[in-house]
Every structure is written in structure tokens, then in C-alpha cells.
């Protein structure tokens, strides 16, 4: 184990064992060499442009994955209806799919998939919410996400996107407030 805490100056009272503040070895900066091109803080527009191009090249692959995930969402929705005894397991699977979609939605131009995917993930993590309410809310999210993908509603979708978001929020509020 690294014991650099014992090798660096301790700035607080030695009689008091804590807190200890020290400067650890900067292994990262030690390995960063300098091109010597532009004065500044290391910001390299060319490197960033390459990185952005690489990210863009993944878009096609992610679009294919989105098609698969939409099918997975539909499958998960069907399973929720068919196998109520395995609902917790299905909610976990649904959260995983929603988590994935959240990650890449905006990257492929479907910001609403990221928004709704995040909303679904967060909702499914709420332990105080019962399974029946989660089921209804999960269905509403899945329907909304499939609608966004199939229409398709790109970006935030303008007025249609706002209306869809508002409708989903109203639906969530309604189900959550049901006795």
C-alpha cells in the first residue's frame, strides 16, 4: 500500500492524528510531455477535434444498438405483464437498459431518449415506490421512448418534445399520487 501520507509534510498539529494533508506524487503530470506549440493550459484543439471525430464515428454503431434496445424495451414491457412474480428482476433489467440508453441517447441525436431513460432509471431506483406504481410508470416511459425513436423525434423535439415530456410527467404524478 502507498504510504505517501507518512512521507510528505503534515500541515496540522502532529499531536492530533487527523486530519493529515499532503501532496501525493503527481504521476499523471510527470508523464505529460509538452509539444511546445501553444501557450496555455494544455488545451489542444486538434486533439479535441480528433476525439470528437472518433465519438461521431461511433454514432452509426450506437444507432444500431438503439434499434436493439427498443426491441429489448418492448420485450421487457411484455414480460412485466406476463410474469408478475418476477417483477423485481424485470425492473432491474429495465433499469439496466434505460441506463444504457441514457448514456448514448444524446450522442445519436435522441436527447429525449436520454431524458426519459434517466427518468426511468431514477424512478426504478426509488425504493419507497410500490411495484404496481412502478409497473404503470415503467410502461409509460417505455411507450414514450418507443414513440420518440419510431417517429422519430430528434433532439429535444421542439413543441412535440415538450408536450410529450409534460404528458409523461403528468402521468407519473397521477400514478404516484394514486392511493
Amino acid at each position: 500500500m502507498d504510504n505517501a501520507a507518512n512521507q510528505h509534510p503534515i500541515l496540522y498539529d502532529m499531536a492530533e492524528p487527523e486530519p493529515v494533508i499532503y501532496t501525493p506524487p503527481n504521476k499523471l503530470k510527470d508523464k505529460v510531455t509538452l509539444n511546445g506549440r501553444i501557450a496555455g493550459d494544455g488545451y489542444d484543439a486538434e486533439a479535441l477535434a480528433r476525439a470528437e471525430a472518433n465519438a461521431a464515428a461511433l454514432t452509426d454503431k450506437l444507432l444500431q444498438e438503439a434499434a436493439l434496445d427498443m426491441a429489448r424495451l418492448e420485450d421487457a414491457r411484455d414480460k412485466l405483464d406476463r410474469h408478475p412474480s418476477r417483477r423485481d428482476e424485470q425492473f432491474s433489467e429495465l433499469e439496466r437498459i434505460a441506463h444504457d440508453i441514457t448514456g448514448y441517447g444524446t450522442t445519436i441525436g435522441f436527447d429525449l431518449l436520454t431524458r426519459f431513460g434517466r427518468s426511468l432509471s431514477l424512478f426504478l431506483r426509488r425504493t419507497e415506490i410500490g411495484g404496481t406504481v412502478k409497473l404503470k410508470v415503467a410502461r409509460a416511459h417505455i411507450d414514450a421512448m418507443i414513440l420518440v425513436y419510431r417517429t422519430p423525434i430528434r433532439g429535444l423535439g421542439g413543441k412535440n418534445g415538450e408536450a410529450l415530456t409534460a404528458m409523461l410527467n403528468l402521468t407519473i404524478d397521477k400514478f404516484v399520487s394514486e392511493p
Binding site: 488545451y43 486533439a47 465519438a55 431514477l122
Partner: protein, 150 residues
């Protein structure tokens, strides 16, 4: 001056293969050649022991050990291969509680999804340019949680 990043090594930990690919491709674009990957915290621990990366980028919502717990283990475990390695945490959950938990576990930087090349690059530069002192108390081990401008 521009930094050349080709000598640093990075471990990327994410249970989503898509996000793993995206993060690795962005890092390669930035000029980082040595990139290791792991899809869960246990594998990540093994990778760190073997490869000794200079930076760890990890997802927050992983199973069975989440990124926050992984960070805490890395900072405090007696078996930790490197308690000081800088950690950039990637997350789709930007609520205050998650951010505070990540900070209190010892994360250096926080990166919200969706990931952009620019956002990741800026976090990376922040870790390089403005390294923080380390703090050890009974309840916390990690970078100083009070940011100071350099």
C-alpha cells in the same frame, strides 16, 4: 503549451460496452495510447494492480459494486494498489446526493452523461493542471474536497 498525452495510461471502468467504446475512442482521439478496460469493480481492482494506470475513469452505476463504493475501496482499502490515482466519475445521475456521495468517496472529477469529447478533455486537463492535495481523516481519504484555484 499543449500536453502530449501519449505516455499516460488510463483505466476505463464501465459495465456498458457502448459507453466503454465511446470513452476509449475519445481517449484515443486525445492521443492516449495505453487504455485498459474493466467492466466491473472487481476486475478494475485487478487491472490497477497489474497495469498501474495514471488515471481511472469509472462509471457510477455499476453492479455489483457501484462506482462510488469502488472509489471508497480504492481510497481506503489496505489492499488498494494505488490510493492516490486520480478518478473521474461518469454518471447519468446528477442529483445532489449522488454528487456528494461521489465527492465524499474520494472522486477527483465528476462527468455527467451524455459524454462529450470536450467535457472529458476538460476534466482530464483539470486533473493534470490542478492536482489537489490529499486529505486523510478517520472518515475520509481522498483529494481535498475544497477546490482551490491554481
Amino acid at each position: 503549451m499543449n500536453f502530449r498525452l501519449d505516455r499516460i495510461s488510463v483505466l476505463v471502468v464501465d459495465d456498458s460496452p457502448h459507453m466503454l467504446n465511446l470513452l476509449c475512442d475519445i481517449l484515443r482521439g486525445l492521443g492516449i495510447n495505453t487504455i485498459h478496460t474493466a467492466q466491473d469493480a472487481v476486475d478494475a481492482f485487478k487491472e490497477i494492480k497489474i497495469t498501474r494506470p495514471n488515471l481511472v475513469i469509472c462509471d457510477q452505476a455499476m453492479e455489483p459494486i457501484c462506482g462510488i463504493e469502488f472509489t471508497r475501496l480504492l481510497r481506503t482499502s489496505q489492499d488498494s494498489p494505488d490510493i492516490h490515482v486520480p478518478i473521474i466519475m461518469v454518471t447519468g445521475y446528477c442529483d445532489t446526493l449522488t454528487v456528494l456521495q461521489a465527492r465524499d468517496a474520494g472522486v477527483n472529477e465528476f462527468l455527467a452523461k451524455p459524454i462529450s469529447a470536450k467535457a472529458l478533455y476538460l476534466r482530464l486537463l483539470e486533473v493534470i493542471n490542478n492536482p489537489r492535495d490529499f486529505v486523510k481523516t478517520k472518515s475520509y481519504t481522498g483529494p481535498d474536497r475544497q477546490r482551490r484555484s491554481s
